[in-house]
Symmetry: C2
Subunit: 320 residues, 2 copies
Amino acid sequence: MTQNSTHNNHSPSTVHRRIVALAGGVGGAKLAQGLAQILAPEELTVIVNTGDDFEHLGLYICPDLDTVCYTLAGLANPETGWGRANESWNTIANVESLGGPAWFRLGDQDIATHLERTRRLREGQSLSQITKDFCSAWGIQHTVLPMSDAPVRTMVDTDEGELAFQEYFVHRRCEPKVKGFRFDGVEGAEPVVGAKEALEQADAIVICPSNPWVSVDPILQIIKTINKPVVAVSPIIGGKTVKGPAAKMFDELGIEPSALAVAKHYRNILTGFVLDKTDSLMEDDVKNLNVQTLVTDTLMNHLTDRTRLAKDVLHFIGSL
Amino acid sequence: MTQNSTHNNHSPSTVHRRIVALAGGVGGAKLAQGLAQILAPEELTVIVNTGDDFEHLGLYICPDLDTVCYTLAGLANPETGWGRANESWNTIANVESLGGPAWFRLGDQDIATHLERTRRLREGQSLSQITKDFCSAWGIQHTVLPMSDAPVRTMVDTDEGELAFQEYFVHRRCEPKVKGFRFDGVEGAEPVVGAKEALEQADAIVICPSNPWVSVDPILQIIKTINKPVVAVSPIIGGKTVKGPAAKMFDELGIEPSALAVAKHYRNILTGFVLDKTDSLMEDDVKNLNVQTLVTDTLMNHLTDRTRLAKDVLHFIGSL
């Protein structure tokens, strides 16, 4: 990956520009939703991690892709961040009563997504085509792309051996200590049709506040080369993550979890970095990495927070 | 198939005897439930048609088997006869909104059965083992067996060409005119473990009021030889079926649909035949086939009707 330090000519007040956002699940989906509130459909492409995808109960499940789509469509469960709002759980309750695996909580509406996606994949349709059709059915106007149509599987090396990601993440609740990561299949995986074009036409790349190790790194490995300014939003606030095991992973890998640690993780491709006000004391350390900074509120509980942060990020991009 | 005219020594008042019931879907399930109200678990084995089984939305669906099990477990939808009581339809509604196939109405609870069965089949478990486990989970004490663990697929030859059974039955609503039937895979299919033993130990075989052409014939072709008294309950009352296309099939095959036509269909194996009171004028014609008869109420709307008919059938068997 190469850093491109060319600044574009947009004035800071021009928030409308072409953006490619890289996103994992919940945190990434929130910022993507904020960006979608401001940017026109042709101005935003969200490339989503599919390293978490897995087959379960015979269903092909794409947790991050679905979280991003449900969130953009306004269908996401506001309590959990994942799954559907107003969800019912009759199928999984009955699977459980039959002695089947119920550790991955699949809601009844959500199962429809997996059933129909699995059916179409078996028919030979690509994941990107299916995602496009689903986005259309859900009324999503911005472009959402899986990082690849080829299967890439995040494998977590732990003190209990290597675990498939969902086995580690959901079934084992991130309890085993992390030693490293491997993205099975990533070498041969190409970005989907439209991703390269979006990256070429983009004014900037936004790395959403997603897990650097298991949500963003797989996407970056597939994209391979970035020739545009990259702005990352820290998923770590005050040494902790809002959701998910990113901070725990840094810690277990021997790195003190912090916004600074995230900036260091991305330093080879980073133009700008967005820290929470809680971490303002780290701003100078980040600047010392030769990275420009924005300090703002990065917590995104409600849509207004998401839109405001997206606006801040777009202004920051305009100022780079 | 050979008819065995040996009468057993039970007195008519002894209703408890070992029975093997052959059943298709709704009608068969109703009589099986009636029999299960009277007979002890070790006295009743229900062998169920699986020629209607099909794969749909990636799910392995056994309509008749599930109808029999749901009915015996008291979980069946009393309105439709198929599917689950207190069912929700959130998954299929969402499959439909994604443009997926929704013509086969799968409820949320029902989908759990198919998901978990499909998962186990892919793991290499047999349909009979899975059925045994599901019956246990559902609290069914009597033995329910699929007719075979090998896939047998009922194909309907129609004036629009050959159609897979559910395509004909549900998707095309039995509209194409029937010319004949073929049970794909039936030649190599063996009865499941336990079926031969149950047939050997049985005092009599009861053919439930199911469709002779597409529900009972596949089972009979798999069983091949019957050396026990066979009593059939007519699924045709007053020239019509309570549910399903049996009468329409007789008609399209050039046979006037009637209880007599059903008795003639089974004449090679029949010891006794149960007609509805509506058809009492046909009793002599059936007797002329060298078949003993019972005329009674055969409509089974409620559990009390099912139990009463089962009791009548068992007394009739005792009198043969």
